[in-house]
């Protein structure tokens, strides 16, 4: 979270320039920022990597049905396959010594045929990796968007109105912040994933992806809303905002037309960083069996599935682990690039 806080600490950015009359006629702050981002090779490489990962994950159904011809969600413990012309069980019983244990077939490195082998249920690991990526990315991105949206609304309200509104909202943030983030996520998940959630007429089932999305989004709201609130409080004192209030603009108009555009760059910078963070949280929860529920997959659940095969089939664990590292790393580098582009004066993460 340190990166998010540093970024959010900057109180002015392209948004400020966006309402600066002197800027009219030039390339424009957003276009300038985009130009800078495009020139950032590391950020562009990350973006390309992310696009490739997303495309690959989106093609999961195509891969499973048309290329690998497998059902990645159905157990196939007693299934067989043909390798080097020989029929082999997917879970091969030990034939040495006392004949204890079974070992799933390992990577064949043939993209059309159990590329990364099978897991302990006889399911194609590569197909599940692609499907798992869809869920991990969906949860990471959705929860980051929801989190940033809620945090923006609450941060703006608290920072703009101050007083009692700020007092109540800030105390709410404090309450959530008081819990270690993973402990809070685990507590909510254990309760909700056992019985689902009833919100009036809406019932969210125990296996629904909306549960991890909602939980992860909520627990990080204070981490985004707090710095935004500070930024809005600083903006509140700016002359252009005072002038707007002075000419009789309504609170709603001031928040929408003056405040929001000025904090938007910060939110945009936070978005990829929060996506990476939320993906990691989702993976952790799913690893603990309290995130995505079987037979659905996410990179965290696949790591969990591979835990019991660590000695014999490490690929089941390493592959999703690598996918998480690459995606989270790419998101962070891209996030840094976006920050550099939108706010060149901001200190880089880790800078003194």
């Amino acid at each position: 979270m340190s990166a998010a806080l540093e970024v959010a600490g900057a109180t002015t950015g392209p948004g400020t320039q966006a309402v600066d009359p002197a800027a009219h006629g030039s390339a424009g702050p957003w276009r300038t920022a985009l130009g800078q981002l495009v020139r950032n090779k590391a950020a562009m490489a990350s973006l390309i990597l992310l696009v490739l990962i997303v495309l690959a994950c989106l093609c999961a159904p195509l891969y499973a049905s048309k290329i690998a011809h497998v059902d990645p969600f159905a157990s196939n413990v007693s299934g067989t396959t043909i390798i080097d012309g020989k029929t082999q069980p997917l879970l091969e019983p030990s034939s040495t010594g006392l004949g204890l244990g079974v070992t799933p077939i390992g990577p064949t490195w043939d993209p059309t045929h159990y590329f990364l082998g099978v897991d302990n249920q006889g399911r194609d690991v590569f197909a599940r990796l692609l499907y798992g990526g869809r869920n991990s990315l969906l949860i990471g991105i959705s929860s980051a968007v929801i989190c940033c949206a809620i945090a923006t609304v609450l941060g703006v309200l608290a920072g703009y109105f101050g007083g009692a509104v700020d007092g109540v909202l800030s105390r709410l943030f404090d309450v959530v912040w008081a819990f270690p983030v993973y402990l809070l996520a685990i507590c909510l998940s254990v309760v909700l994933i056992t019985s689902g959630l009833d919100l009036g007429p809406v019932h969210i089932g125990p296996g629904s992806l909306w549960l991890p999305i909602g939980i992860i989004a909520l627990i990080y709201v204070p981490y985004v809303a707090r710095p935004l609130r500070g930024q809005v409080m600083a903006l509140r004192q700016k002359e252009f905002l005072q002038a707007s209030i002075g000419i009789g603009a309504s609170d709603w108009r001031v928040m929408r037309r003056e405040v929001l555009p000025n904090i938007l760059p910060t939110v945009i910078v936070l978005l990829p960083l929060m996506t990476a963070l939320n993906m990691l949280t989702e993976s952790a929860l799913s690893f603990l069996s309290i995130g995505v529920q079987p037979p659905n997959a996410s990179w965290g659940t696949i790591i969990n599935d591979g835990l019991g095969l660590l000695y014999t089939r490490p690929a089941v664990t390493i592959a999703p682990g690598l996918a998480i590292v690459l995606t989270a790393g790419a998101l962070n580098v891209l996030g840094d690039g976006v920050r550099d582009a939108l706010d060149p004066k901001a200190k880089l993460r880790g800078a003194a």
Binding site: L98, L100, V102, T103, G308, L309, Y311
Partner: protein, 571 residues
């Protein structure tokens, strides 16, 4: 008995004394490993005495009080520390089911139509604190069972005169008229409300241990009570280790009941992961792993360390319990569909392969009294299970009108149970249901699935026999008397109560008093009737691996309490 780790309270079965006497011909041999226990010595081998035996377990198992602790982890250790009036024979194989006199000189004199048991205590036996074992200690120990709320006080010892009042108000428990000690004659007389042929068995388990009369009438917790056996607890820290050393006052009085131990010290240390435990044993840093080895180490243990592994068949069963009182399994066709579709071989693979488990489709495990080879749910027919018939299952689901219903499979959250649960979930989805998996902590799952208030539709569970009698499976798990709606202690998890089948069970129980062979034939018929009604779907009968370090010798496996820890040689 529920699972390897937690012993659940059960009703015991009738005529078990007779069964034990006959059991040597009815149960499979124990060790699969040539280095096992075939040549177990019948007397103490002085040359192997000494050394320290290092055991490892992932975690401690709670209180060290033998009258309260109800885990196999410590029951296995208690065998070398505590004694009751009677004991299970501490030998290898099926003879371990035989009850022999322990602190009593001989088997009790039974009078008053089976309601009075008189024991004569052996002379000269001392507790580890140096005090003599007297009839007063025995009387106090029986009172203590109730005062400390022993988990089996209400199921094992409720037949003692006055037990009802003791169960209601343990603090004022008074058994002076029911358990009478005669210090001069050295006898103890126990009066029962009604004849109980199972009573000797109940006296041979750790909850009927004899402890000094001045022992605290509350849970001893981590403070060990004085012992009578060859070892006593030197220290117990649940976060670190349990250390057992020799009892200086022990002299072997019966090799069958309480043999002298070989190691000078037995340590059980806690805190390692099971993976690390296995590595420690492979490296000779530990001598035995209590916990079941992880799936990815089985092949290594079975091949590279085959000489150090001992695989023993258990008279136990893993099964799916289907709630016959709520949808969709209130429909017999839905239940039968599960039995048809269940991939038992797949579950065996997930458990560790065919050398660690055997698929079953009868409720009584193979080679168990009353078992008859029969399989009503296998593709192609026959008396043994071959493969599932998913098409037939789908057809039954369709006919039942339950297709498309939501079904939650409740399992424990450990690796093996969860994997089998996921397999079952996949099977249910395939035959037409919308299945979800609900893995919950092993600490609560067993009581959770018993309570009807939790509306559990289908659950994965297991049952490990208390004694080799068919009633311990059929009557205990599926009898009307074991179904208690709304209670955490309703071991008839399916809620199955078929009056006709229940009458058959009662008849078989009554027949056990006169002819065990005839009774077993009747149990075989009960088993078939139960499988037709399908309240459960038996999956497999498991085996147990004991993984020992290379230096350990004289492995012996008691069918009752598993590996005899004190009989291992470390030098």
């Amino acid at each position: 008995m529920k699972s390897r780790h937690v012993l659940a309270s059960t009703a015991l079965t009738a005529a078990l004394v007779v069964t034990a006497g006959c059991s040597s011909s009815s149960t499979p041999s124990s060790s699969a490993n040539a280095s096992g226990s075939a040549a177990a010595p019948t007397s103490f081998q002085e040359q192997h005495k000494g050394g320290t035996l290092h055991l490892v377990a992932k975690a401690a198992a709670g209180t060290i009080d033998p009258m309260i602790n109800y885990t196999l982890q410590y029951w296995q250790l208690y065998q070398a520390m505590y004694d009751g009036l009677l004991a299970f024979k501490k030998v290898d194989g099926v003879k371990s089911f035989t009850v022999v006199p322990d602190l009593a000189e001989e088997m009790p004199q039974v009078s008053d139509g089976g309601k009075t048991y008189t024991f004569t205590l052996r002379k000269g036996i001392k507790f580890s604190n140096g005090a003599d074992v007297t009839p007063d200690d025995v009387v106090a120990s029986f009172t203590r069972i109730f005062k400390v709320n022993s988990p089996t006080a209400g199921s094992f010892y409720n037949g003692i005169v006055g037990a009802d009042a003791c169960i209601k108000t343990p603090a004022t428990c008074d058994l002076s008229k029911a358990v009478v000690g005669d210090a001069k004659a050295g006898t103890v007389t126990i009066h029962l409300v009604a004849p109980d042929p199972e009573f000797p068995y109940k006296l041979a388990v750790p909850h009927a241990t004899i402890v000094p009369k001045n022992s605290p009438m509350t849970d001893a917790g981590t403070t060990p009570l004085p012992t009578t056996g060859p070892y006593m607890v030197k220290s117990y820290d649940p976060n670190r280790a349990l250390i057992m050393v020799r009892n200086p006052h022990f002299k072997e009085w019966s090799h069958d009941a309480q043999p002298q131990g070989y190691p000078d010290e037995i340590d059980e240390t806690f805190g390692l992961t099971v993976e690390a435990e296995v590595t420690a044993v492979e490296n000779g840093q530990a001598d035995w792993v209590f916990d079941p080895p992880p799936a990815d180490r089985l092949n290594e243990i079975g091949s590279k360390y085959a000489k150090q592994a001992h695989v023993n068949a258990l008279t136990a069963m893993w099964y799916l319990a289907m709630n016959v009182n709520i949808a969709p399994f209130d429909n017999i066709k839905a239940r039968q569909a599960v039995n048809w579709a269940l991939d038992r071989a797949g579950a065996v693979s997930l458990y560790g392969g065919k050398n660690l488990a055997q698929p079953v489709c009868t409720f009584l495990p193979p080679d168990f009294p009353g078992h008859v080879d029969d399989c009503q749910y296998t593709k192609g027919g026959g008396t043994t299970w071959k493969e599932p018939d998913v098409a037939k299952a789908k057809q039954l689901v369709k006919e039942s009108g339950t297709a498309g219903q939501a079904v939650a499979v409740v399992t424990t959250d450990d690796e093996v149970n969860k994997a089998i649960g996921e397999n079952v979930q996949s099977m249910l989805n395939e035959i037409g249901y919308k299945a979800t998996l609900k893995p919950i902590s092993g600490n609560i799952q067993f009581t959770y699935i018993q309570n009807t208030n939790n509306k559990v539709q289908i659950s994965l569970t297991s049952w490990y026999q208390d004694y080799p009698a068919a009633s311990d499976f059929l009557n205990v798990l599926l009898g009307c008397g074991s179904f208690h709606p709304g209670s955490d202690s309703s071991i008839n998890i399916s809620g199955f109560c078929d009056k006709t089948i229940d009458a058959q069970m009662q008849k078989a129980l009554a027949t056990e008093q006169t002819s065990m062979d005839e009774a077993n034939m009747m149990w075989g018929e009960v088993d078939k009737a139960v499988m037709t009604a399908s309240p459960t779907a038996p999956i497999f009968t498991p085996k147990l691996i004991d993984f020992l370090s290379a230096r350990v010798g004289n492995y012996q496996f008691s069918k009752q309490f598993y590996m005899l820890v004190s009989q291992l040689w470390v030098q």
